[in-house]
């Protein structure tokens, strides 16, 4: 197991945001993290990124508890992409990639920047300020930043939210292609069920801070007697407690 989450909980004041969740992700697999808004997905990702201290439980990556590792040792192997966080708007695309490449200690940085910018088709707006780009362009730049260090673990929080279908499809295709060429374990939080079905080897469904189901897409759809993941999601999200 590459990532193992054991009895992970987070309590904010009196609010139980994540309630003793357990799951694991095999190396080089892509796992979808699904659930309605406020179910604890972002908090779980925040704990895996070391931004939020768990109230209880363990996060084990490559057989090492992340609490026992030096912060930098683990963070240099992880990266994160979300449309809800941004890169400095007043810096050009190239400057942002250079700064983050240096922060991640990327070797042969110039070559890596050229490589990633060609892959994600961002080279023609390299010298423009990031804040002046369209949502689709910003999204690709953000994805480039998250891949600059060739992470072993990639956490994606709604990577195609607010993108038009064409750019959304481009991003999904790129993630598929990148995954096939590189050794990367991905945890994908998304509300786009087609995206999850297309990209994920298995899924974890959360509700009210708990895991209510997990398995492959087909297993879960079949288990709940629905035709697709969207219908299954709605059934679980609208059920009284979500448990079957």
């Amino acid at each position: 197991m590459f990532i193992q989450i054991k009895n992970l909980s987070k309590i904010f004041k009196n609010n139980l945001a994540v309630d003793k969740i357990n799951f694991h992700i095999e190396k080089n697999k892509t796992v979808g993290l699904l659930g309605p808004n406020g179910c604890g997905k972002t908090t779980s990702i925040g704990m895996m990124l070391g931004l939020i201290k768990p109230s209880e439980g363990e996060i084990i990556i490559d057989n090492k508890n992340i609490e026992s590792l030096k912060r930098n040792d683990i963070l240099s192997k992880i990266n994160f992409c979300s449309p809800y966080i941004e890169l400095p708007k007043k810096l050009t695309v190239k400057q942002n990639l250079e700064v983050y490449g240096r922060l991640y200690g990327v070797k042969n940085l110039s070559e890596r920047i050229i490589e990633i910018s060609e892959d994600l088709d961002i080279k023609n707006f390299f010298k423009r300020k990031t804040g002046e780009l369209s949502s689709g362009q910003k999204n690709r730049v953000s994805l480039a930043k998250s891949l600059i260090n060739k992470p072993e673990i990639l956490l994606l929080d709604e990577p195609t939210a607010s993108l038009d279908p064409d750019i959304g499809d481009f991003v999904r295709s790129y993630i598929q292609e990148y995954r096939s060429k590189n050794q990367v374990t991905i945890l994908l939080a998304s509300h786009n069920m087609n995206e999850v079905e297309r990209l994920c080897d298995s899924i974890i469904m959360m509700k009210k801070g708990k895991i209510i189901d997990k398995g492959t897409c087909n297993e879960i759809i079949k288990k709940h007697g629905r035709n697709n993941l969207e219908e299954t999601f709605l059934k679980l999200a609208r059920s009284r407690d979500g448990f079957q």
Binding site: I52, K53, R71, I85, K90, L91, Y100, R102, L103, G105
Partner: protein, 263 residues
């Protein structure tokens, strides 16, 4: 400490400044206005006050030194606020950079920002008012050191507040220095303060720095003991600031405010 990462974070702020002419102008504009304002006040006092009659520009020198403190502190705060305003906070805190490296980078870049603004203004004071802060010589560096440390400390305390209370703490960032200024005895001797406030003021490095500056300019002697005292007090405050920053960071991790922090 990895200096390539310290440089990388500094580079982010150097790019920010170099990409924008209005930002460069803004950095130079305020210290220059200060120099003009205090230059004329200084000139007036020189002509009309016995206390200042022997030393031209004592107020202007104080204004330049105080502005250095102000610029260092504000620069430190501004660079931190830039991360919040640009919603880049999460990206920064998930990068493999130690908190000590973040502090070091902000500390080193703060002096660069402060000097961009202050050096042209200090040079301008020479032909305009016949006052050169550089005439203080080596003791100038010894006076700037505790000011720099104390400016960074104030920056650390304000950024700790930002970590603890979020962007709503921003207004305090601007007000922090004005709060301490009356006790700093920047433009007047400590004897002006009521006795109870004198005790408080002596706990700040500012009093010792500005008293010593006046001593050098009025008496042409350097009291190294007072300078060492001001450096020592500044170091104590700096260590306190670092501890508060770390504890605010750990508190923010506990409360989950590091994720999605932004305007």
């Amino acid at each position: 400490m990895d200096f390539s990462k310290i440089y990388a974070l500094g580079l982010r702020h150097i790019y920010l400044i170099s990409n924008s002419l209005p930002r460069i102008v803004d950095l130079i504009y305020w210290p220059t206005v200060q120099i003009f304002l205090w230059g004329f006040i200084s000139k007036f006092f020189t002509l009309n006050s016995d206390y200042y009659s022997n030393t031209v520009g004592i107020i202007l020198t104080a204004a330049i030194l105080y502005d250095f403190l102000f610029r260092v502190s504000i620069s430190f705060n501004m660079m931190f606020l830039e991360e919040i305003w640009s919603r880049n906070f999460t990206n920064l805190f998930i990068a493999p950079i130690k908190i000590s490296e973040i502090i070091t980078s902000l500390t080193l870049t703060a002096i660069l920002r402060a000097l961009i603004g202050l050096v042209p203004a200090a040079i301008l004071a020479i032909p305009l008012f016949g006052v050169s802060v550089f005439k203080l010589g080596l003791p100038l560096l010894l006076l700037l050191l505790p000011l720099y440390l104390f400016g960074v400390t104030l920056g650390l305390l304000v950024t700790s507040g930002l970590l603890r209370f979020g962007p709503s703490f921003e207004n305090i960032a601007w007000a922090s220095l004005f709060f301490l200024a009356p006790l700093g005895c920047i433009y007047y001797p400590i004897e002006i303060l009521p006795v109870s406030l004198q005790i408080l003021a002596k706990g700040l490095p500012l009093v010792h720095i500005f008293e010593e500056m006046r001593n050098i300019l009025l008496n042409n002697t350097v009291n190294y003991f007072d300078i060492i005292k001001s450096i020592s007090i500044s170091i104590v405050y700096f260590i306190f600031g670092v501890i508060i920053f770390y504890s605010s960071y750990l508190g923010a991790k506990q409360r989950g405010t590091l994720i999605n922090m932004g305007e």
